[in-house]
Point group: C2
Chain length 427, copies 2
């Protein structure tokens, strides 16, 4: 029946791929939504940018140097020794009940009163974005986002064939009047708006904070217009000078879908995030998640649960915030010192990012290869727009490199920008 | 700006949910695909079935009693102590390169020659099903599956609004001629067939094995008709008497999308599976996965990678197979001893499941509450059909309970079925 079983171990580099001929008419065989799934040029650039000699101000990788590794190692060792049969088994599709209770405690720090039954644990908050898109977006539906907005959210909305509309921001985040105007004109054109996606705290990529009064105004507009708010809050506990205002979800439990994550307060490699959803959406979220991944990992959920139960996690978040504040300070000093006077940038009070605006003649996509040649990487502004805007902006993140490397990287980048300005005779 | 921050810790049971009024016109606000996302009656039954006094022959939970927990604990402890900065960080969207190489070694056991560049690591193979559906299925597209087929796959295909068509099986799995006939008639009706989904080894739920000659015939038909094959292989290494035939992917690298998982050979709580895809699909799979979860967990991937590198994992799989064989033997003995003579069942040569067919007057959905009252649970046959068929069939799984409990559960179930037959005067 099977005399030819091969136990030979094959290694990637030495293996010639066996080809049996590519299928015919492949493009016609994909779903419509898959036609836009194309590898982009920027992806290849980032592969280059991850080389160690390059100062990467591009990625948003948390800095784990403040995480007590020996303690994490002992938490996991103990978990498997004492509770391996549960930790390594399939779990609840909605997430582990004990962790869902603890998540409510974490959210209470930002004024949220939540019930564990309304929490759905996800594989990072990216999965929550995917599930929400799946539940709400028919092709052509409008999703409102900040201008600029998080690249990962834009990618997901695009995959569900949403029509993404950016709403203007200023130094204080989304402008309520701009939101009201956009809704009016979109509705007048007969299109359906499904939700407003925003990051109120230390926004990615703009680094700005939405003040409490604007939160109230935006909540009122959304509720009046029958539009859900998706409040994405990865950085809320990472404020540098004072706590961030209460979460928007704190004052509206029925019209706000709240997304949280342990990626920035503990560690992203565990891939544990969550959605706190209105009761009316809970069943659909769980069913969508089961269809997508069956259940989140009991193992990584219980690592986090045991960490929260036994370690001083609030102090740990304070250590992270201190580490990021030092880096933010270094980045702002270097920008002041080296950057040309006709560039402007945001001054984040928390989180990971600074948004830089250059004179409109500068194309930050075209500038990337030159920056990489000068051993520094950033993310061009167009990545944060669904509509091609943003070509004279860029995002830098100060979260990961050392203070010295941040200073060095910003100095190099300033040099590249100044050369470009001289070449184009911009003063 | 924020004088009212609440640090009060709230606990689930004592918390009254704050209600601000449910949104209006909610059903109109969902995507079309979300209308079918409804909690089913069977879900509530399974919640009851998980009570400890019930012998559950329902779930497909692997039996982790054969897993050396102390060793797993030490693998994870060492991983974080020595390589925590990588293990707990964001990772590669396609999966960790080292694990992708090792996955090729695992697949070589079933005759597959693969390149690590064509492997996409997923959050369990359920996520691979989701990604494939996303890439291929437009609403109304036809997906071919075995009759019966895996309930989790059917759920995902439904979520992407596929039209699922079941193809007849017998004791040797999918019948090639039935496949050819179905394709002909579907094509004649003008509908598009996207892929054939099947589980060749110890099928879930039927427990049958597809022999090598049928594999070849099915591969030929699919290639000729321009239909991808999705080969789902969770149980291939868990054969009891002899190795399973080579994977279908071993003889066709361009028209077969192969799904694997460590859930049954190591542990499901790690949520690590993979897809081995034709080169022509790789970019789309990675982009779809990034949009869905950003990246799989570096932590759980590296636990598996270190386990594979340093532990006798082939011997461990042999131990698992031995454990399941004992339980299969106990289940078949109990069926022979206690079940009525007008019931028939499959005799699995590997894997977790037995498919039982009763006289057509018996409704296995209606029987479930009576079974639970008799302290035994199973899965009614209709769960494994997209079209309501299967009402006089059921699936039992022998993987998880002890030999004694399996015998006791099957005896109780036989009693319930015999009573039902007497009440209906079936001989």
């Amino acid at each position: 029946m099977d005399s030819g079983r091969k136990f030979k171990v094959v290694k990637g580099d030495s293996l010639e791929r066996v080809r049996t001929g590519a299928p015919e008419n492949l493009p016609e065989r994909f779903a419509h939504r898959a036609l836009g799934m194309q590898a982009s040029e920027i992806r290849s650039l980032f592969a280059v940018a991850s080389r160690p000699e390059i100062v990467s101000l591009a990625g948003g990788m948390p800095n784990l140097s403040a995480l007590p590794m020996q303690m994490m190692a002992s938490v996991t060792e103990k978990l498997i020794s004492e509770n391996g049969a549960e930790a390594l088994q399939y779990g609840n599709g909605q997430g582990h009940p004990r962790l869902r209770e603890q998540i409510c405690d974490v959210m209470a720090l930002e004024g949220i009163r939540a019930h564990p039954d309304d929490v759905v644990v996800t594989t990072g908050s990216q999965q929550a974005l995917d599930l929400i898109s799946r539940i709400f977006i028919d092709p052509g539906d409008v999703v409102l986002v900040e201008a600029p907005s998080y690249v990962g959210a834009l990618g997901t909305f695009k995959q569900y064939e949403a029509s993404v509309v950016h709403i203007n921001m200023d130094q204080d985040g989304l402008i309520p009047q701009a939101l009201a105007n956009a809704i009016k004109s979109i509705k007048a054109s007969g299109r359906k708006i499904k939700f407003l996606y925003l990051i109120p705290n230390y926004q990615n990529p703009a680094g700005v904070l939405l003040p409490a009064d604007r939160r109230t105004e935006i909540l009122d507009i959304a509720r009046r217009e029958g539009i859900f708010i998706v409040e994405d809050n990865p950085y809320g506990l990472l404020g540098f000078e004072k706590p961030s205002p209460n979460a928007m979800r704190a004052s509206d439990s029925e019209n706000v879908i709240y997304l949280g994550t342990f990626s920035k307060t503990i560690a992203p490699g565990l891939r544990v995030g969550w959605a706190l959803v209105p009761q009316s959406l809970k069943d659909k979220m769980v069913i969508a998640s089961e269809s997508s991944i069956l259940c989140p990992s009991n193992f990584t959920q219980l690592v986090i649960s045991n960490y929260l139960a036994n370690q001083p996690w609030r102090d740990q978040i304070t250590s992270f915030a201190k580490l990021y504040k030092e880096r933010r300070d270094a980045a702002l000093s270097a920008l002041d010192k080296y950057f040309p006077k006709n560039a402007t940038w945001t001054k984040p009070a928390g989180g990971f990012y600074i948004w830089i605006t250059l004179p409109p003649e500068i194309d930050t996509n075209a500038l990337m290869p030159k920056a990489i040649a000068a051993k520094v990487a950033y993310v061009p502004g167009t990545a944060f727009y669904a509509d091609g805007f943003g070509s004279w902006s860029l995002r830098i993140s100060y979260c990961y490199p050392t203070v010295e490397r941040i200073t060095e990287g910003i100095k190099s980048l300033a040099g590249v920008i100044k050369s470009e300005m001289e070449a184009r005779q911009i003063n």
